[in-house]
C-alpha cells in the first residue's frame, strides 16, 4: 500500500511497518470527497485526511498521508517519503 520511498522512511525511522504504522496516529477517514489525477500522481481529499499517491507497475501506492494544507507551502504530512 505504501510507496517504496515512504515505506523505507517509515521503517528507517520507526521500525517495521506492521508495528510502526498504527503508531502514526493517522486520521480515520471513511469518505472520498475529491480526487485529482495528473499523469502518474494523484491527490485524494478524504473526509478527515488528504493523501498523496503515485502509480507504480503494481498499482497505486501512498506516498504521503495524514496531510494538512499550509498557505502557499507544501502540505505537512505525518507519513511521507524522504
Amino acid at each position: 500500500m505504501l510507496a517504496p520511498g515512504t515505506l523505507s522512511e517509515l521503517q528507517n525511522t520507526f521500525g517495521t511497518c506492521r508495528h510502526s504504522l498504527p503508531q502514526q496516529d493517522l486520521p480515520v477517514a471513511t469518505k472520498v470527497r475529491d480526487v485529482d489525477v495528473y499523469g502518474k500522481n494523484a491527490i485524494v481529499h478524504l473526509d478527515r485526511d488528504v493523501v498523496f499517491l503515485a502509480r507504480f507497475e503494481d498499482g497505486w501506492r501512498i506516498t504521503a498521508a495524514g496531510c494538512t494544507p499550509r498557505q502557499n507551502r507544501p502540505f505537512t504530512c505525518t507519513l511521507k517519503g524522504q
Partner: protein, 238 residues
C-alpha cells in the same frame, strides 16, 4: 522460381527528380523527426533520473511520448514557431526594413493592387482557381496563409496550456503541493515563463535575420541578397 519484376524504365529518374524537387521540405521533415527523437530520448532520461531520485515510478518510452511532460515540451516550442511565422507574414505587409531581402521595397507597402497580386481578371493560366474567385472565397484565400498559421499557433498554445497544467500539477503533487485550477494556471509563472522564453528566441531570430541579411551574404540562397548587391537594395533575393 519467379523472375523479379524489372522497374519500369522511367521510374528511377522520375523519383530522383521528385526527390530533388522536394528536397527542401524532405530535409527539414527529416531534421524535425531526428530532433523529436532526440528530445524524446533525452527527455525520458531526464524524467526517469528525477523519478529515481524521488523513488517514484519511471516511465517507458511509450508512456513518456503520451505524457503531458512531453506534450508541453513540444507544444511550447511549436506555438512560438507558428507565432513567429504569423507575425512575420503579417508585419511584412506593412513594415519595411531598407536593405533587407526579408522586406518589401518601400513603395510596395500594404496589400498591393490586384494586378500585382494576379487576382480576378489579372489571374494567369497557371494561377490557383481561387485567385479567379470573387467575394468571400477570394478574401479567404487571400489570407489563408496567415489564417492557418494563426490557427495552428492558437491550437498549439492551447495544447501548451492544457498539457502544461497537467505536467505542472503532476510535479506539484510529487512535491506535496496542491494542484492549480485552470484559472490559477493561466496566471501561473510556469505558463508564462514557458511562453515568454520561447517567444523571445523567435523574435530574436527574425530580428537578427532581417538585420544580418542587410550586410551579410550567402551565395545561392534565396534568403540572401546576391553577393554583389548593394547594402541599400531592398527586397532582392540571391
Amino acid at each position: 522460381m519467379t523472375a523479379q519484376a524489372e522497374p519500369r524504365p522511367n521510374d528511377r529518374p522520375q523519383f530522383r527528380q521528385w526527390l530533388r524537387d522536394h528536397s527542401l521540405s524532405l530535409a527539414f521533415t527529416a531534421l524535425l523527426m531526428g530532433a523529436l527523437a532526440g528530445q524524446a530520448i533525452t527527455g525520458l532520461a531526464g524524467y526517469n533520473e528525477r523519478a529515481r531520485d524521488a523513488q517514484l515510478p519511471a516511465l517507458s518510452m511509450l508512456q513518456y511520448l503520451t505524457s503531458s511532460q512531453f506534450a508541453v515540451d513540444v507544444a511550447e516550442n511549436w506555438q512560438s514557431e507558428y507565432l513567429q511565422f504569423l507575425l512575420y507574414i503579417l508585419l511584412t505587409v506593412w513594415l519595411i526594413q531598407v536593405g533587407s531581402p526579408e522586406s518589401k521595397k518601400p513603395d510596395e507597402r500594404g496589400r498591393e493592387a490586384g494586378k500585382d497580386q494576379q487576382i480576378g481578371s489579372y489571374a494567369t493560366a497557371g494561377s490557383p482557381d481561387l485567385a479567379r474567385a470573387r467575394g468571400w472565397r477570394l478574401t479567404l484565400y487571400s489570407h489563408s496563409l496567415g489564417l492557418v498559421m494563426g490557427l495552428v499557433f492558437l491550437a498549439s498554445w492551447s495544447a501548451q496550456f492544457v498539457a502544461g497544467r497537467s505536467a505542472y500539477n503532476s510535479e506539484q503533487i510529487q512535491d506535496l503541493q496542491a494542484p492549480l485550477t485552470w484559472t490559477q494556471y493561466l496566471q501561473a509563472p510556469d505558463f508564462w515563463n514557458r511562453t515568454f522564453q520561447n517567444w523571445q528566441s523567435e523574435f530574436l531570430a527574425v530580428a537578427t535575420m532581417v538585420v544580418f541579411s542587410i550586410y551579410l551574404r550567402e551565395r545561392g540562397s534565396p534568403e540572401s541578397k546576391p553577393v554583389g548587391a548593394p547594402h541599400e537594395s531592398t527586397g532582392v533575393e540571391g
